[in-house]
């Protein structure tokens, strides 16, 4: 492989995949992601899962993998595929069903469970590129730097791949996030998209009280990013902003609700990580079914 000068730019027009997956479908897929998140918790009733931050990013995951990204199993050449780096690895419960929807994982992969050497999925991701899992673990603040490296590799290879990095707003406390953001801005990594699942809560409480990250949009703008602020539960809006790209890296600040979809968990820091009991499971199933029917009713 010959190297490609870093100055090379390609003004590319990446078609929005949501032209093929409708907004209704994306909304239903997000609900299905939540449904599967609940099933994972049900399968391991004694294990506290990071339900709040998994539920908040269900639309982000579904829209990225089914509506925006060229996954490499959708006719895109594998090397040219877009990459997804889940930096907030605790939200992997939402990643697994979205990868199944995109055809990068199978139900059999899920059925192997989350523990032990035979598992493909887990409470935290384990790098497995063939399944679209780019980064291991959930040590916060490492994903954006890794995504920057992936974007740089694509540039050097002359590939038009885009790299999406999903982070938490609490995660932006980590200094390494800003080392990576500096690099991305300085090098005009236009193929990089940082998606902030801004659910406003972290382990110790409201992000604004723990360590106020202030206006993340102004911070990313100051680091050389284009910034889009969006309702992170609006699949059409998400698909729209995630398909934008320019010569500069893009930060999408997606305002979300932690625990979204489970009325008893929404905006409650206790549901950062918690076991789901029988009663909680039944309520969750009923509420998600009602949400699904509402989407279908609105479609008619």
């Amino acid at each position: 492989m010959q190297s490609v000068a870093t100055e090379t730019r390609t003004n590319r027009e990446v078609p929005r995949k949501s032209a093929r997956v409708s907004g209704i479908d994306l909304a239903l897929r997000a609900i299905e992601v939540r449904r599967q998140v609940i099933e994972f918790a049900r399968s391991y009733p004694d294990m506290p899962f990071h339900l709040g931050g998994s539920l908040s990013c269900a639309e982000i995951m579904a829209v990225l993998l089914s509506g925006v990204m060229h996954t490499g199993v959708d006719g895109t050449p594998w090397e040219r595929r877009d990459r997804l780096v889940l930096s907030k690895g605790h939200a992997s419960l939402a990643l697994w069903p979205a990868l199944v929807q995109a055809g990068l994982l199978t139900q059999e992969d899920l059925d192997r469970g989350m523990l032990g050497p035979g598992a493909v999925i887990g409470k935290q991701p384990k790098r497995n590129v063939a399944h679209g899992i780019e980064l291991s673990g959930g040590s916060l603040g490492m994903g954006l730097g890794y995504a920057v490296g992936l974007a740089l590799a694509a540039r050097r290879k002359g590939l038009a791949s885009r790299v999406f990095c999903v982070m938490g707003d609490g995660e932006c406390d980590e200094g390494s996030v800003w080392e990576a953001a500096s690099f991305a801005g300085h090098n005009s990594l236009g193929s990089l998209v940082a998606v902030i699942d801004a659910n406003g809560l972290q382990l110790d409480g409201p992000t604004a009280q723990v360590l106020d990250s202030g206006p993340l949009s102004a911070k990313f703008a100051a680091f050389g990013f284009d910034v889009q602020v969006v309702d992170g539960h609006d699949v059409e809006a998400l698909a729209g902003v995630l398909s934008l790209h320019s010569e500069r890296p893009l930060a999408v600040i997606a305002h979300t609700v932690k625990g979204k979809g489970l009325s008893f968990a929404e905006n409650d820091v206790k549901w950062h990580d918690r076991c789901l009991d029988d009663d909680g499971y039944r309520r969750a199933v009923a509420e998600l079914e009602a949400a699904r029917k509402e989407v279908l009713a609105n479609a008619e």
Partner: protein, 319 residues
């Protein structure tokens, strides 16, 4: 070969790093050097001319450096990430755990001015814990070349077959050019610099104090304590066959310009603790404290890491 070896040994190790990168760049378009504002001193101009995109600047940001380097390595590039030894190891240890350990990203970290080399700057810039930090990460190869010929050889070997690795570079005014004729043994194998089988004492060394260890072995032998000198350029994975062969010695001595806790000596002691009939191990290195800023030579003299000091430590241990 000899004159070229002596020329290389006489250079600053950072200059040798750049010369080696320039040589690799001629044949390897995948070569990549990711730096954190420590590029200017690394003599990289020729490499950058040969392969402009091989140079990646992260600024003073070692966390980003390791993350970016790991992604590039996993995308198929042959990546080296040099910085001050303490900053590319202990400062970014979690990145090293996740990226090089768990993910097995084939990045070659290069720790410069390790040991006491940066002694004049004081403890913040001296890397005396770096081997200890990195060798606890599963799957990371740890290399401490004794001289610049061995440094160049190790860098070429690793760049040709990238793997998660840490190359520790330190250099002192009194270093001996051990490999002026080139590196003869296979990568990872210990090298017997002074025999032999009838020695009562074996001095094992890693890094640039290997010359002092060899001189100490010569002194001791002249004084009637027959002593062998064996260099372990690769601290991990350790050449355990060479250690097995030490059963029956009266004393094994380890020498390194690293803290006595957790470094090469600890690795040797850990292994020998499980070997039936293994000899006693005397670990020589930097003490368990942060020393005040001083010249490298004075620091090494103070703790007895010179040929004379090592010989004195050995005689005291045998008394």
């Amino acid at each position: 070969m000899l004159s070229e070896g002596l020329r290389v040994c006489g250079l600053d190790a950072k200059v040798v790093f750049g010369e080696t990168m320039a040589r690799i760049a001629k044949n390897d378009p995948l070569l990549t050097v990711v730096v954190s504002d420590y590029g200017r001193r690394l003599n990289l101009d020729v490499m950058r001319e040969e392969l402009p995109s091989a140079f990646v600047q992260c600024g003073i940001a070692e966390q980003s450096q390791v993350e970016v380097a790991s992604a590039l390595a996993n995308e198929g590039f042959h990546v080296l990430a040099p910085s001050y030894a303490t900053f590319i190891t202990s400062r970014v240890l979690d990145q090293v755990r996740v990226m090089l350990g768990m993910m097995r990203s084939p990045v070659i970290l290069v720790g410069l001015s390790a040991g006491c080399e940066a002694g004049a700057l004081g403890a913040s810039h001296m890397a005396l814990e770096d081997i200890a930090c990195v060798r606890t990460i599963p799957g990371v190869t740890v290399v401490c070349p004794a001289d610049n010929v061995e440094l160049a050889s190790a860098l070429e070997e690793l760049a040709a077959e990238p793997r998660p690795a840490y190359v520790r570079v330190s250099q002192y005014a009194t270093d001996m050019c051990i490999h002026a004729q080139g590196v003869q043994r296979a990568f990872g194998k210990a090298e017997v610099l002074r025999g032999g089988a009838d020695a009562q004492v074996a001095i094992l060394s890693t890094g640039p104090l290997t010359g002092e260890a060899l001189r100490a072995a010569e002194h001791l032998s002249q004084e009637g304590v027959e002593t062998s000198a064996i260099e372990f350029a690769v601290v991990k994975p350790l050449d355990t066959e060479a250690l097995d062969a030490l059963v029956g010695k009266r004393l094994v001595v380890t020498v390194e310009d690293h803290g006595v806790q957790g470094g090469f000596g600890s690795a040797v002691a850990e292994y020998l603790s499980g070997v039936e009939g293994a000899p006693r191990v005397l670990r020589l290195g930097m003490p368990d404290e942060y020393l005040d800023a001083d010249t490298p030579q004075h620091l090494l003299e103070c703790v007895g890491l010179t040929a004379e000091g090592i010989a004195a430590h050995v005689k005291a241990a045998l008394a």
